[in-house]
């Protein structure tokens, strides 16, 4: 059947190695390309690395935020529920670009002068908060999908609420939430391009600069688009292999 489904562990390993090799060696084939791509190969490779870093950092922090806020939304403690509802409402109701600019312009004014956040850090914070809000809804739906009887069984066996959450609720809710979380991650690869607005030199910014110098937008943007497609494909392969790996126990 499907290779991803049959060997999910190997596929995940392969996608990860592929991604690393791609990032590591991207400059080599690009430098062989004619102008305007060849001379800017190192810039493209560096831009792709920044894009992947932003995605990985915001993607990971975003999952943690999503789990915390998803739990918070289901908490019995009303103020906590309000805080989480407000967070999701605020982030989903405003443009990502605005959130990035807000973090970049406002945080330095409220932080002590000794704390010096880089542009990259500001972009990572804004993107984490953004994807975290979208993840919250997916995680919440996943938690609600866990049969209540299993939670009672865990409690009756003497597992603490935390153990019940970690061993019974979380793994099952993540399995339900994973397709939606993977979707959000694929969007994040592309959304990270908005970091160009606060002068983070990620992939799109590199493309913009190279075409501005060379006056040749077509080959430059084709190159950029290809790199994005390779990156999103790698991330999608990774997450669907993870899905297949977690699907055991659902099979008949």
């Amino acid at each position: 059947m499907n290779w991803t489904k049959r060997y999910p562990g190997w596929t995940m390993f392969g996608a990860m190695v592929g991604l690393l090799v791609f990032l590591w060696g991207l400059a080599i084939p690009l430098s062989a390309a004619p102008a305007p791509i060849g001379p800017a190969a190192m810039q493209f490779a560096e831009g792709a690395r920044i894009t992947v870093w932003l995605t990985l950092i915001a993607g990971s922090v975003g999952v943690v935020l999503g789990v915390l806020a998803g739990m918070g939304k289901l908490s019995k403690f009303l103020p906590l529920r309000w805080v989480c509802d407000f967070y999701v409402w605020l982030i989903r109701g405003t443009p990502l670009l605005l959130q990035i600019l807000f973090v970049w312009l406002v945080i330095p004014t409220v932080m002590p002068a000794s704390v010096n956040l880089s542009d990259f850090a500001c972009a990572a914070i804004a993107l984490s908060l953004n994807i975290g809000a979208y993840n919250t809804e997916c995680v919440r739906a996943g938690i609600l999908a866990v049969p209540h009887g299993q939670i009672e069984a865990a409690r009756a066996l003497g597992l603490s609420p935390l153990q019940t959450f970690m061993d019974v609720i979380l793994p099952q809710s993540m399995r339900v939430a994973l397709p939606a979380l993977a979707n959000n991650l694929a969007s994040l690869v592309k959304d990270s391009s908005l970091a160009y607005a606060i002068s983070v030199v990620e992939l799109t910014m590199v493309g913009y600069r190279v075409q501005a110098e060379s006056y040749q937008p077509i080959p430059v943007f084709l190159t950029i688009a290809t790199i994005y497609l390779i990156l999103t494909t790698a991330f999608t392969t990774l997450t669907s292999a993870l899905e297949a790996k977690l699907e055991v126990g659902q099979k008949r």
């Binding site: 049969p147 299993q150 865990a154």
Partner: protein
């Protein structure tokens, strides 16, 4: 501490009330159970049988009266709750196995987490229990791959893995196809001879009559009869119990 002449009550319930809103699901229920006793709890649907079992391991909090399990009072003290849940196991109508874990992991989870038992020891113990319920060969399957009767036997093994002094069964065969009822009853019959205290909510009159030491008849949240199977099935005191028995016999 317990001499052989005076049996120690392991469960004491005194004047227990349980309300849902203004509705009394349990009204002034008192009963005590001695170690090793097997009690069948019988009664019409909605009479409070499940609610009574569930107050005994605090899946439901009682609103009035007191419940003492092996000398530990059930109240808001979490230490007491942990101690009680370690001594009281529960088997549910709908099995409630953890669907993301193998049969083996279903059984080892609580001993490893709650009793901090080393993995190898927990697995050896689980295999022994699986052998006892006749499912050793299924250890590495997932719950969905098993029939209802097999799942319920695993659920019994899972509860036994915590070495409980008391096992609560809430209609353990009601969700099963008729041809699977006996395999579960056989396991329960064997258990009844091991000296574990059992409270079994059931509609299996044959089982109650043959295996139980005692029959409790619930009606409208109160205990109406509390007697021997012999007395209950031949000559119940209350009209409601007579009517119930007539109806049940008619059904079969």
């Amino acid at each position: 501490m317990n001499t052989s002449t005076t049996p120690t009550p392991i469960i004491v319930a005194r004047n227990v009330d349980k309300r849902f809103g203004s509705f009394y699901a349990l009204r002034n229920v008192s009963a005590s159970f001695t170690e090793g006793q097997v009690t069948a709890i019988i009664g019409p649907s909605g009479s409070g049988k499940s609610t009574f079992l569930r107050t005994l391991n605090r899946l439901e909090k009682h609103d009035g009266g007191e419940i003492v399990i092996d000398g530990i009072e059930l109240n808001d003290n979490l230490k007491h709750l942990d101690a009680v849940r370690r001594e009281v196991g529960m088997v549910f109508q709908s099995f409630n196995l953890f669907s993301h874990l193998t049969i083996l992991r279903n059984i080892t989870l609580a001993p490893m987490r709650v009793r901090k038992m080393p993995k190898a020891e927990a697995e050896a113990k689980a295999m022994g229990l699986l052998e006892r319920v006749g499912l050793k060969s299924q250890a590495h399957k997932y719950p969905v791959q098993l029939s209802g009767g097999q799942q319920q036997r695993v659920a019994i093994a899972r509860a036994l893995a915590m070495d409980p002094k008391v096992l609560l069964f809430d209609e353990p065969t009601s969700a099963l196809d008729p041809e699977m009822v006996n395999e579960v009853l056989t396991v329960m019959r064997e258990l009844a001879h091991t000296g574990i205290t059992m409270l079994v909510v059931t509609h299996e009159m044959g089982f109650a009559r043959e295996v139980a030491d005692r029959v409790i008849f619930f009606d409208e949240g109160a205990i109406l009869e509390d007697t021997t199977p012999q007395a209950f099935f031949t000559n119940p005191d209350h009209e409601r119990a007579q009517a119930f028995l007539a109806q049940v016999r008619h059904g079969f």
